[in-house]
Subunit: 279 residues, 4 copies
């Protein structure tokens, strides 16, 4: 028995759940877990199903869905859970997000493999070593093509599926984010859409906000505007200095990024018209 | 087209979702919303489906489920959403939970009718009047049978489905809670299972807890031990006095009770082996 | 014994606390509660002291502070807690914030008097009646001077100290907000600085934010930009519709506004360089 | 200029703040930060003051306070912030709390030194190595005196001030916790006073609680009953399995323990009649 995850989204219409579950049942699949949501405001149907099946039953399901797809305007994908997603971790000098991901993975809480760590500084090279993940030093350059071409090579060489910007402090080009659309997850150290851009904790302090947050989102051309995957917040002591906001923020950042990565690995993230739906 | 909500829970086994959705599809129902959860720790399957159907298609579905029930050990129920649940609100002197429910209902946020307000004091009689809900004064008595017999009459006369203890400060007898099992919802002004019994805010203060909470649960014989429907918490200022804890607590109590009532009215609450599962 | 609250803020320098407490001690005051904060990022000192004193000792303290003020660049104010602040409540058609304030006041949780309710619709006139607060109907007008002149009269006639915009859905002129600077508190139904302007819940839904919030702030010329007094947030179910966001938002709005009003009445709010410090 | 932190608590009476700040002012101290709280429910005064002073001015202050102490029933202590507290970290096999403390310390967010790591297993010996903290292996024993005598030696040898039980899964004897009263901080993986004892996540799951938490507290004879220093909570997905609760709990545990350690190191923690007051 192998385990798969099916994602479907399409315009809503009667019979979608019954139809889908019948396709799975006919092929001999056992549905382990199913979540369905219809976003009434945009009349769109989302479905995530975890199923188990023997032999090559998965192929039969795929054929059925291919047949149905044009008729129902289905967007669908099936993930084989035995094939672990390979993540590249991009970092600069700050290590709290990096450690949180590495330690959670070692504890068995993140079902993935880390293909590599890529740093534009060498500060965190040793961390890679102690966790057995190869470290690549790719210095930044005014000409973004130079590091980004190297990224393309590394991503190909290491069979990387998704890039996690774990406090990587460089801006990627529109060309690059477009090329790896919805395959790059960033942690923004602010509660988006507030506090876009640099120094969000300074902005938050100057505004006197009473609650700070972090946002994990897909990197897109529009900086800090990509679809939001996860957010978390924390009330701040009124007397906190900017430095203390930064420090508090680290905890929020690391748990928000880890949480987004986990949702991603469990194939719970749908992107539709510029926003996510998490099932 | 009428809209119904189906609740099923049973021991887990392959094919439950496909089987259920086929029963609905065959009868011509359109599934609007479906949530399913398998609690792996106890190998139990839960399903909630909202569906629309024409004419008496509902009857056909009921027949099918009756046939399947013994075989699959199904517990199931179908609710007709056009028949609004009738709630009795039991109160004493405190009105924050009462007002919150009445105002949310008037705003269209709670799909129910209020059959009556029952008070063991007359303080809140006028509130009933201003919202057009009949008020019954049933004074407390050492012999619990006296008020509880009156409750039985009122519940029957007013066609009450569920009793909401909206800060009703009397203990109901085991006989009564057993008779109306899972039909009485209480708000406990503490984070259960901590701070059972009287004066939870005094207890919380004496312990120096940093966070207080409230718990909405079904009333059962074991006071403050019934299955939990909703909980909420709030961080307390370190310098809060007991009086300030009580005041802070009121906000948590009212939003927790309203939230539980809403989950109940949407038929999202399953009770299984002493705990709830909310779908 | 009368009770007073002293607020001081000024550029930081050694000896401020000792100096201040000595002024109070010499006049025979007993300090009941003192909070002090130095915002190191802007080198500014804030102090709030609650003290009790007999006879006209308060006058002696005021004289001392007047003498010190130019030397130390002191901004200071003393509030007599026996004189209750008088609040005008401005409303439109929505009543959740209005009721929350009226009920909390009746429960003794807000130390103020309500001077009047002002509505640009008559929908909530009866609410005023049932709580014994006079209602003034001031319809909106393209020429903002017309209602705002009426506001000036009402504020004067009713001895109003502070205006609370309890979901008052009209924009006040820059002239008016400037005239009543830091005397008008607004509840914005969004987590500022994100989601400024109209329909914040639509904006939040379209962005797919995972957490929504509300912000109580002083009304200023720059709409939705005034100094923030209180904020609160709540995680939203992924499947929430816009309508459900609006409904969830009401709870956050009312508790955030009530909380801001309470901080204000306790004279805990300092405004300095466009942001508040709450002590 | 050296920086000190003064803690005072005593029965409340008029003039305490003015008196205290005068003692500091006369000795030439500059008060940098002062927080004061009077717990009215028990009529007790708490004060924390950060001050700077030149030369041996600190000695003069101590003499004054010694003179005042019997008269005012003062409990007081002065901490020299240039002398860093030395913490011993006790662990078993689980490393999330250990790493969080070590990494926060390396980032400069915890003003202390780690005197040693003590493990009843050798699993985490290498972690000590990579952070330059000596690791002591002290296996458990039915006769608690055997490891605890070794603890006494290690604490003495390494000049340990405070012991942090960073998920140390053994119960210390009453003799030991009494000997090091308020010098041992434990992280309990549950929201105390609920879910005392073993397997709190199993208990929480069985109760169907909607929110889980962690509690950092002083270790005392009564297991899981010591004064609470910090608590945090997190809403749990309704569908979470026990295993997922455990995983979610790790994040809460580590941030709650780190937060308690920080409060402790900043000398913000007062213990009075079985509960803490955090200033």
């Amino acid at each position: 028995m192998s385990r798969y995850i099916l994602q479907i989204h399409c315009p809503d219409q009667p019979g979608l759940i019954a139809g889908t579950t019948q396709v799975l049942a006919k092929a001999g699949a056992n549905i382990v877990d199913l979540t369905q949501h219809t976003a009434k405001d945009i009349n769109t149907f989302f479905l995530r199903a975890v199923f188990e099946i023997e032999g090559d039953g998965e192929e039969e399901i795929k054929k059925h869905l291919e047949t149905l797809a044009p008729h129902l305007q289905l967007s669908w994908k099936i993930y084989d859970t035995s094939k672990k997603e390979r993540l590249a971790l991009f970092v600069s000098k700050t290590d709290h997000c990096l450690y949180d991901l590495l330690l959670k993975h070692r504890d068995g809480d993140l079902p993935c493999e880390f293909s590599c760590i890529v740093g534009n500084h060498t500060d965190l090279a040793a961390v890679g070593g102690s966790f057995g993940v190869p470290f690549y030093y790719v210095p930044s350059n005014k000409d973004k093509d130079i590091p980004e071409n190297r990224f393309r090579e590394i991503i190909a060489e290491t069979n990387t599926d998704t890039v996690i910007l774990a406090r990587y402090m460089q801006i990627l080009s529109a060309k690059f984010t477009e090329e790896f659309k919805y395959r790059i997850i960033n942690i923004h150290h602010g509660f988006l859409p507030a506090f876009k851009g640099a120094k969000p904790y300074h902005q938050a302090w100057a505004k006197g906000v009473k609650i700070i947050g972090a946002t994990a989102h897909f990197a897109t051309e529009d900086l800090d505007q990509g679809p939001i995957i996860a957010q978390d917040v924390q009330r701040v002591p009124e007397t906190a200095s900017i430095e203390e906001l930064v420090e508090l923020g680290k905890d929020i950042e690391k748990r928000t990024l880890s949480s987004a990565v986990k949702l991603w690995l469990e194939h719970r993230v749908f992107v539709h018209e510029g926003r996510t739906f998490i099932l």
